[in-house]
């Protein structure tokens, strides 16, 4: 190879007559050489008036790679647009062959994607249209799910019971450790936050009321829902998305098996069956966390705490929590399965689907929670 000082490619012009110019390419044209930008050369070329013919010639080429053919193609393109003839016969045969190959299949009309400057209005319009499309997709998915449920009730749904059990295993027992940890800690936090205020009045005993009602009515269901949307909702989206990429969902359809029944139903059922149980478990863990703090740090005995909790928390409160967790389960499963089924056919699309599943389900959960809480407040329960 060339030494560093001479590692550059040169382009020079030699006018032959008034309508012809010879373009001499010399030196090194490999990747690490320094070469004048092609725009400069084209600008120089445009300085020649009445140009009819450009003779491309190579002189003392020290070495070249794809840079040279790409450079020459640019010059030839420029000449073509200006009706100047470009003669490449002065270049080495290898380059000529490559140029010919690059020109063998003409660019397909309309194949090139042009990026146009879009107006803000157009962008807004597009965003709204996408939102509408999303909403339509959601409605369609809910409709299909309901149809599949109807088939299930008629006893005609086709899915393997083993799949249902696997999903139950995955959405239930496997989630216990994380649910234990999180709800215990949330109970602990609630107790501490309440204790700071209540201790000022010497009313530590009411920590039990606060923790009990807080977890049972609200935090138990909410925290399990957040955990399950990250754990199971994302997994559903990724599983179904990958199956989509791999044509497995197409294969099911052409087999005459509805993917809604075969894939979505067992996942939905598993989550809807398991979430209330997880929520109940989280409630107990949360109250246990509260008791730990109260009994150890404040002057309240375990029996007192237990009695106070029993007095404060009623069956209605449990029912509200369980009802919420049922709703959340349906929302998480819907978001996860929908994003998975609508997933595009690439690796990044699967990632997007999983992200969208978690984001959507958390939004749905919080909105639904507010609505239910508001309704309960109005009804006075």
């Amino acid at each position: 190879m060339n030494t560093a000082g001479t590692a550059s490619g040169q382009v020079s012009f030699i006018p032959v007559d008034e309508s012809t110019v010879a373009m001499k390419l010399s030196g090194s044209w490999s990747n690490d050489a320094s070469i004048r930008p092609v725009e400069q050369v084209l600008a120089e070329l445009s300085a020649f008036k009445n140009l009819k013919l450009v003779l491309l010639q190579a002189h003392d080429l020290a070495g070249w790679d794809s840079r040279l053919p790409a450079y020459v193609l640019k010059i030839i393109d420029y000449c073509q647009t200006r009706h100047i003839e470009a003669d490449a016969s002065g270049l080495p045969e290898g380059i000529q062959a490559l140029l010919k190959l690059a020109r063998a299949v003409p660019e397909r009309a309309g194949a090139r994607r042009t990026t146009q400057q879009k107006s803000t209005l157009a962008e807004i319009g597009k965003t709204v249209m996408n939102g509408l499309k999303d909403a339509k997709g959601l409605l369609a998915f809910i409709g299909e799910t309901l149809l599949a449920c109807a088939t299930l009730i008629r006893g005609k749904a086709r899915f393997r019971s083993i799949d249902l059990f696997l999903c139950i295993q995955d959405a239930g027992p496997s989630a216990l450790p994380i649910v234990t940890l999180i709800s215990l800690l949330v109970g602990l936090i609630l107790a501490f936050v309440g204790a700071v205020q209540l201790a000022m009045f010497g009313a530590q005993i009411y920590i039990a009321d606060l923790v009990g009602l807080g977890t049972v009515r609200e935090m138990g269901a909410l925290m399990t829902a957040v955990i399950m949307s990250g754990r199971t909702g994302a997994a559903y989206a990724a599983q179904l998305g990958t199956m989509n990429v791999n044509s497995e969902i197409d294969a099911l359809k052409t087999m005459g098996i509805s993917p809604m029944e075969f894939l979505v139903l067992p996942r939905m059922l598993a989550l809807i069956l398991m979430m209330p149980l997880l929520c109940l478990y989280a409630d107990l863990m949360g109250m246990l966390g509260g008791a730990l703090v109260t009994v150890s740090a404040f002057d309240v005995s375990l029996i007192q705490y237990y009695n106070e909790t029993q007095k404060a928390v009623h069956l209605t409160d449990f029912s509200i929590g369980l009802f919420k967790s049922l709703v959340f389960a349906a929302l998480i499963a819907t978001a996860g399965c929908m994003r998975g089924m609508q997933c595009g056919r690439s690796a990044s699309a699967v990632g997007d689907a999983a992200t969208a599943a978690v984001v959507n389900s958390i939004v749905y959960i919080v909105v639904a929670d507010s609505v239910i809480t508001l309704i309960c407040d109005r009804l006075g329960i």
């Binding site: 086709r158 044509s247 197409d250």
Partner: protein, 255 residues
């Protein structure tokens, strides 16, 4: 003359506003080995998706025998689809199931066979495609060619009347590709199965094809239909001749 197995009339395919192919008209007879061919990007696989019920035509109809496939009710369409088998380009095996479970799935869902009978049929189908003994392997443990053959075993599970192949020889070595061709022909000869193949492997096209349609990406419509050999001998269309001779006749002309 009997009714053709599949009739396509005035089929236009499009993704939204983007036209893929228009005005396709051809028929596939019983026991044909029908080749869908054309240059890359001309919509061969898209046509296949229209024939197997994965994508609705923008215009036009597909008839199975006399039944209008896309205007039938969903139940009717599913009933038709149970008589077809599809081998996807990648095999599309269910990755969470073993090969045996993959093949047993349609058998378990649509037949009243006992577990033992199904196991026997699964072993037989796997043996047919040269994968005897691989019942308990997961798809990810197999090579691409083996996955494809397992996909074929699954497609054949219910002894379909029509088998669709999406680029069966892509990614196979020449010997395996040849064996697959032989298998296709023997399926047709022994069971009378109608076979539709999307391919651009010239060797396969001439070895097995008895009928074909040629799609052109530039004019966005079909250029010809008929037996590939006959097309080569009789067609006057430069594009078809160029395709069927690997561009050699064209090269002879221009050099």
């Amino acid at each position: 003359m009997t009714t053709p197995h599949i009739t396509v009339t005035n089929l236009t395919m499009a993704y939204g506003d983007f036209l893929i192919q228009r005005d396709l008209n051809f028929t596939i007879e019983h026991s044909d080995i029908f080749i869908i061919m054309g240059g890359s990007g001309c919509g061969k696989s898209t046509l296949l998706r229209h024939l197997i019920g994965l994508q609705r035509p923008a215009k036009g109809d597909v008839f199975y025998e006399r039944q209008d496939f896309w205007h039938a009710s969903d139940e009717e369409r599913v009933r038709i689809m149970r008589h077809i088998g599809v081998l996807y380009q990648t095999g599309a095996l269910f990755s969470s199931l073993t090969l045996a479970e993959n093949i047993a799935l349609p058998l378990g869902e649509f037949t009243g066979l006992s577990r033992y009978e199904i196991a026997d049929i699964v072993s037989y189908k796997l043996a047919l495609v040269g994968l005897a003994g691989f019942e308990d392997y997961y798809p990810s443990e197999l090579s691409g060619g083996m996955q494809k053959r397992a996909g074929l075993a699954r497609a054949m599970a219910l002894d379909p009347e029509i088998l669709f192949f999406d680029e069966p020889s892509a990614g196979l070595d020449p010997v395996s590709a040849r064996l697959l061709d032989d298998l296709i022909v023997s399926l047709r000869d022994t069971l009378g199965t109608t076979i539709v193949v999307v391919t651009h492997e010239l060797a396969s096209i001439f070895a097995i094809g008895t009928n074909s349609v040629f799609l052109d990406p530039d004019t966005k419509t079909m250029l010809a239909t008929g037996s590939p050999k006959k097309l080569l001998a009789e067609s006057s269309d430069a594009k078809i001749i160029q395709f069927l001779t690997r561009g050699e006749s064209d090269a002879n002309k221009s050099v």
